[in-house]
């Protein structure tokens, strides 16, 4: 690389902060770059020693174009890893592309934020419940740089002012939990001078060895997120007794490095939240919901002492419209990548986005490099399975909680697939039932009982027909009655007569229909005990019919003679009584035959 051959005067402030989050180490580097050389500079190289580079989880660089501008105008700059052949192999290089070229003599300020995980080593590695957890951090007092450094200073912020030991150099100042080194001037490139800090830290060393987030999209309005955690306390391992008595009586003193709860910041409007593990629900959790966010405080089943492990699952549903954007058939999901627990370092994070069955044209985009592939998952009522986009990333820190997108095509009609399947399933069951009821499953077609049963069925069909005919007759009687009523209202004798004529004809036809039915009924032996009843019914009906006809003709006659209504009523009354009695009997008989 040509640039670094020219002398660059670099003014650097390195700030190391071991912040509230225990395990990750945040390094903020504030660099002031000046280009003294004759060439125009367009990129800056960042170097990390091997010790740090394997722990590097997150790296970002942003620029202030000039000093006077407010902090709001921070622009993050593209970074890419570069391989330099002529450089020491013990260092890893990243190159930052500057927003605009820096000409000779110009200066430029660059903010670099790097997050390291697993950089704190507990020393001693094993402690008892009563011991204090001490951790060791190693770094270089000089910022590793491929350029010459004009001025550099370093300040280290530790979580607590209880510091066991630290490397003392000539220009070291300690303010409480902050240690300052420098400033140092005119350092050659790649200068290194190791420093170590040994300090107390009781912050939760919660490390998720594996986190699988499953995001399932249902176009019926829900995004279901299920997160499977495998958690370990990454600090000094606990040895010897764990005394519950001490832990309960003096929690700050005995088991101070243990953590017993974690906070998950769920998106707003999260619903049906659950927290469970392999053997069931875990009852120690609290959910606080307000309009802007939902906060879930979860306690593992037991306090997490150093080296102890646990595993659990949390799940929640989110409203689809908050996360899914669609235009016609093209849709994309926009969700945060990392865990909702901001105190967590994740060794391996696997995000699975389960798309609805029938999605196509699937692609995923994330703001950082990521391993991705696709698989299928078979869930409720699936035929071919649902496409799953799997994204995998190692060494994830809360800074990775950025939005990622999954693009896919899905037709709204496919939503109807599952209801239709259910409907057709039930339809099939009912059809099968109907088929079964109508199928003849008897194996001996010639046995006596089978034949008797068959005969009885035929008899039943015949009786059904008889009943039908009788019912039609009865309906005809009702018609006649209705025509009489019309007569009394309108006085249209002709119409009434016509009604009787047609009824008469129909009734005759019906009685003709009845005859073959009765004869065929007589042929069955099994109909023997029902036959007299049927015949009685037919006879009664015939009688009723005659009476109704008689009543009708009498009434019409009376009307023709212009006799008074009372007179007609008087004449009909006797008939009417008989008709009522007969009707009752016919009804009783019908009921009786029904019940057989």
């Amino acid at each position: 690389m040509a640039i670094s051959r020219y002398v660059l005067l670099v003014f650097t402030i390195a700030m190391l902060a071991s912040t509230a989050i225990s395990d990750p180490i945040l390094t903020k580097v504030n660099r002031h770059v000046e280009n003294p050389g004759p060439l125009i500079m367009s990129e800056v190289l960042l170097a990390f020693p091997e010790l740090q580079s394997k722990n590097l989880a997150y790296l970002t660089a942003s620029s202030h174009e000039t000093k006077g501008k407010p902090k709001g105008s921070v622009v993050s700059l593209p970074i890419k890893a570069v391989n330099l052949d002529d450089r020491p192999s013990a260092a890893t290089f990243y190159s930052v592309l500057l927003p605009k070229e820096v000409a000779a003599g110009e200066s430029f300020t660059l903010d670099v934020l790097a997050v390291f995980t697993h950089a704190l080593r507990p020393v001693p590695e094993q402690i008892t419940q009563a011991d204090i957890q001490l951790v060791l951090y190693r770094d270089s007092v000089y910022y590793l740089s491929p350029y010459e450094v004009k001025v550099q200073s370093l300040s280290v912020k530790l979580p607590d002012s209880k510091i066991e030991s630290y490397t003392k150099l000539e220009s070291t100042k300690v303010h409480g939990s902050e240690i300052k080194y420098g400033p140092y001037e005119n350092l050659p490139p790649f200068s290194l001078s190791p420093i170590t800090f040994h300090f107390e830290s009781n912050l939760p060393f919660a490390v998720a060895q594996e986190l699988v987030r499953e995001i399932e999209i249902s176009h019926w309005g829900n995004v279901q997120v299920t997160e499977h955690y495998k958690l370990i306390h990454g600090g000094a391992k606990s040895k010897g007794e764990f005394s519950r008595r001490d832990f309960q009586a003096r929690p700050n003193d005995r088991g101070a490095s243990a953590f017993s709860f974690l906070v998950a910041h769920l998106p707003a409007r999260a619903r049906s939240v659950y927290y469970r593990d392999l053997i069931g629900n875990i009852s120690t959790s609290h959910l606080r919901v307000d309009s802007r966010k939902s906060e879930l405080v979860i306690e593992p089943r037991y306090p997490m002492l150093g080296g102890w492990k646990t595993a659990f699952t949390i799940g929640y549903g989110l409203p689809l419209q908050d996360f899914l954007y669609e235009s016609e058939e093209n849709r994309f999901l926009n969700m945060t990548f990392g865990s909702p627990m901001i105190e967590l370092v994740i060794d391996t994070l696997i995000v699975k986005v389960v798309l609805p069955e029938g999605s196509s044209g699937i692609s995923a985009a994330a703001p950082f490099p990521i391993k991705q592939w696709q698989e299928t998952k078979i869930s409720h009522l699936d035929i071919g399975g649902r496409p799953v986009v799997v994204l995998e990333k190692t060494n994830v820190v809360p800074e990775h909680n950025q939005y990622f997108q999954v693009y896919y095509k899905f037709s709204g009609l496919s939503m109807l697939r599952e209801p239709l399947m259910l409907i057709s399933g039930f339809l099939f069951v009912f059809a099968a039932c109907i088929g079964y009821m109508h199928a003849d499953t008897s194996i001996s077609k010639s046995s006596a009982s089978y034949l008797a049963k068959q005969q009885w069925e035929e008899v039943q069909v015949l009786i059904q027909k008889v009943q039908n005919v009788i019912n039609r007759c009865l309906a005809m009687h009702d018609n006649l009655e209705a025509s009489l009523r019309d007569l009394s209202r309108t006085g249209d004798v002709q119409a009434c007569k016509a009604a009787r004529k047609s009824a008469d004809g129909l009734l005759k036809e019906l009685s003709k229909e009845m005859k073959p039915l009765l004869t065929s009924l007589q042929a069955y032996s099994s109909a023997a005990q029902i036959l007299p009843k049927v015949e009685e019914l037919v006879a009664k009906e015939r009688e009723l019919q005659e009476k109704v006809m008689l009543k009708h003709s009498t009434a019409v006659e009376g009307y023709e003679r212009k006799s008074g209504a009372r007179d007609i009523d008087h004449r009909v009354a006797l008939l009417q009584q008989k008709i009522t009695a007969l009707k009752q009997e016919v009804d009783d008989l019908l009921q009786f035959i029904d019940d057989i």
Binding site: S243, R245, D277, I279, R301
Partner: protein, 724 residues
């Protein structure tokens, strides 16, 4: 114009008329809808446990069943059948396939497969949790058909309703109670129903079906022995009362022969079915039936009665002699095994107490108290004799069966608490007959009177009317009012029964016993989830091959939830092994460590209720450890632990008690603890005393984990000290 409204109405009226159901169809509709409602009711009343707690497996044995079902679904049937479980009974292991009744697991796995085939991606746990309620629902259907078979459809319906909510059955079939009994009661009742149907019809098909029902029962539960003894007894009674028929011959022979062959396919039963004493009654009755049939045939062939009498005498003597000799020889040569202890303890309630402490130590094997009869049966308890009266009044093959089933199972229910379960279907059926017959008689009375009033003016033509008239004439004054009052009384009783059942189900029988719930100071619900806390800690934070020693009650739970090897578990097949653990628990620490080292124990788990007042902890179970340990190892003498014949933990306790391993592990560092306001430190809330030994030092063990409410305490066995 006034005709207008009439005309359009006419077709509508016709339509309604054509839709009008016949009486029979109405009855069918009502019956089917009642059955559907009962089916649903039986299912949802068992979901109280899921509502109150969660969808989880309950108690002890269900955890083993769940674990094996999981194995079955993951590894397939053959692996399951040949499974050698290293995780239990260390170092002996357990041949799981040959020592369990696989019916339950296979059923659940089958349901799981079917659901997955239909693309319902349910978890196997949900299937297991809901298996028992599902089968309880099916049992109501069987009860309906059974009631219909022995009495009428009305009795069937009442039986279905009674059994759907009967606490005696619910206690073993709530959601999560994934135990053999859950499916076995269904299988039991189904087998009985099919057998009664076979006896009633003499049909080979029904008999075959009952043989398969029996096979399912054998595969599901050890209680099948009840079937294979009750049915021969029933046949014997029918023979004695002169009710022998060809129908009976066909039904019993087919059922016995096929049922036996099928039952022998279950490895846990195998040749026991023809060799053990419990099954001999069935075989004896089988041969007796052949002799009976043979005699019947000879009698038919011989016309001379005198000759037949002589022949009868010779044959009966020979048959009895041959039978007795065969039995004697079999017993002597050991081919026929004698009755097992469990069977003896059923016939003689005091037997277990004297001879087998391990059976007597289980709370559900205790003789039943009256209160628990009342609790589990409520009004059925006095409807039962009424039902027996109705059965005797209308004696038939079927009613004889239900009477015998009812009486024998009631006896067994009196001997052992858990056998109330077996008696429940019979009690429900007999009571249903009482309810149905009473209500029917009363309503007939009411209806006939009403009809008489209504149709008083019209001439009665049908026969039913004539009979109602006759009834009306015979009726006494105030009969109608009396009938109404009685009906209201019956309604009141039945509604009381329903409320009682619901209350019992929700309050008493829905607790998973893994999660304990208590009322807090402000009336809020406090949950003690210590068991799972401890098991999950074991699962996550101990080496995968760690061996855990605990009393046998927790064995299944540790293997299922903790996934660690245990020394003994709830399958109490090896008394000596359990006695070894009992001995270790009741010895001094330095003696116990030798036993624990010899068993490769890494962790010791004890259950302690002193902080919470949880009474079924290991100190209260300690007398059984001493007794069982002492039963095998005479070194342990019970009097050493007793003061004036009782176990004490306070200052007045026996010195051996105060220094034995169990005491030390339970009360380690408990002496510093203030449990209750106003009481001295080290006050044991479960026993209400201040402990006697507050300065406990452990030499070979160290506290590894104690749950938040101290209910479960786990100790680690320290490695031996280095020798210099």
């Amino acid at each position: 114009m006034a005709t207008m409204p009439i005309l359009p109405n006419m077709p509508a009226l016709d339509l309604i008329k054509s839709f009008k159901l016949k009486t029979k169809q109405q009855e069918l509709l009502i019956r089917v809808s009642i059955l559907c409602l009962v089916y649903i009711l039986a299912f949802i009343t068992r979901l109280f446990s899921v509502l109150r707690y969660e969808s989880m497996i309950h108690e002890f044995d269900p955890y083993f069943n769940y674990r094996t079902t999981l194995y079955l679904t993951q590894n397939g049937f053959y692996d399951f059948w040949n499974w050698f479980d290293y995780e239990s009974w260390y170092p002996l292991g357990r041949i799981v396939g040959g020592t369990l009744y696989p019916g339950l697991m296979v059923t659940a796995a089958l349901i799981y497969r079917i659901l997955h085939f239909l693309r319902f991606a349910v978890h196997i746990r949900e299937v297991c949790v809901l298996t028992a309620p599902f089968f309880a629902s099916n049992t109501t259907l069987v009860a309906y058909f059974f009631g219909k078979e022995i009495w009428d459809t009305g009795a069937g319906l009442v039986a279905a309703i009674l059994i759907a909510i009967c606490p005696g059955y619910i206690s073993r079939s709530v959601a999560g109670s994934y135990d053999n009994e859950g499916v076995a009661i269904f299988a039991l009742l189904f087998t009985f129903y099919l057998f009664v149907k076979a006896v009633n019809t003499g049909s080979l098909a029904w008999s075959l079906a009952s043989a398969f029902g029996y096979f399912y029962m054998v595969s599901a539960w050890g209680g099948y022995v009840f079937i294979i003894n009750l049915i021969p007894l029933y046949v014997l009674v029918l023979l004695i009362t002169g009710r022998y028929s060809m129908r009976l011959y066909v039904a019993y022979n087919c059922m016995y022969v096929l049922g036996m062959l099928l039952a022998m396919q279950i490895r846990f039963v195998g040749f026991q079915h023809v060799q053990s004493g419990e099954h001999m009654a069935a075989m004896g009755v089988f041969f007796l039936l052949q002799v009976f049939y043979f005699l019947d045939w000879v009698k038919h062939m011989l016309s001379d009665t005198k000759l037949f009498q002589a022949f009868l005498r010779i044959t009966v003597t020979c048959a009895v002699a041959v039978g007795a000799i065969a039995l004697g020889l079999g017993m002597l040569s050991g081919y026929i095994s004698p009755w097992t202890g469990r069977f003896y303890s059923l016939l003689d309630p005091t037997y277990a107490k004297d001879h087998i402490p391990i059976i007597a130590s289980v709370s559900e094997h205790q003789p039943t108290a009256w209160s628990s009869f009342m609790f589990d049966f409520h009004i059925l308890l006095f409807l039962f004799p009424a039902g027996l009266y109705f059965c005797f009044k209308r004696l038939s093959d079927a009613t004889i069966f239900i009477v015998m089933y009812g009486l024998t199972s009631m006896y067994f229910a009196g001997v052992m608490v858990r056998l109330i379960l077996v008696a429940t279907p019979a009690v429900c059926l007999v009571s249903a007959i009482a309810v149905s017959a009473t209500v029917k008689n009363l309503t007939v009375l009411l209806r006939s009177k009403n009809k008489g009033v209504q149709t008083g003016s019209t001439k009665g033509s049908s026969s039913s009317k004539a009979s109602s008239k006759a009834l009306l004439d015979q009726s006494q004054p105030f009969q109608k009012n009396g009938a109404i009052a009685l009906l209201f009384g019956a309604f009141y009783l039945l509604s009381k029964y329903a409320t009682h059942c619901t209350w019992v189900t929700s309050e008493a029988y829905s607790s998973p016993s893994i999660v304990l719930a208590a009322r807090g100071a402000h009336g809020s619900r406090v949950i003690f989830d210590d068991y799972r806390e401890a098991y999950f800690w074991l699962r996550q934070n101990t080496p995968p091959d760690a061996k855990v020693m605990s009393w046998w009650d927790y064995g299944y739970q540790i293997t299922a939830m903790g996934n660690r090897t245990v020394i003994v578990d709830n399958n109490t097949w090896n008394n000596t092994h359990i006695a070894t653990v009992g001995r270790a628990m009741s010895s001094y620490e330095d003696e116990a460590i030798e036993i624990m080292r010899s068993l490769d124990v890494d962790y010791v788990l004890v259950v302690f209720g002193g902080v919470t007042g949880y009474s079924s902890d290991d100190i209260n179970k300690f007398l059984w450890m001493v007794r069982i340990g002492g039963g095998v190892f005479p070194v342990i003498k019970e009097p050493d632990y007793l003061v004036n014949g009782e176990y004490r933990v306070d200052k007045g306790a026996a010195p051996k008690m105060l220094n034995c391993l169990m005491y030390k592990l339970c009360y380690y560092r408990f002496g510093e603890m203030l449990t209750e306001y106003g009481k001295p430190p080290g006050y044991d809330r479960a026993r209400g005393v201040e402990i006697g030994n507050k300065d406990i030092k452990l030499e070979h063990l160290e506290e590894a984990f104690t749950t938040s409410n101290w209910i479960v305490r786990i100790y680690k066995v320290k490695p031996p000290n280095n020798r210099w």
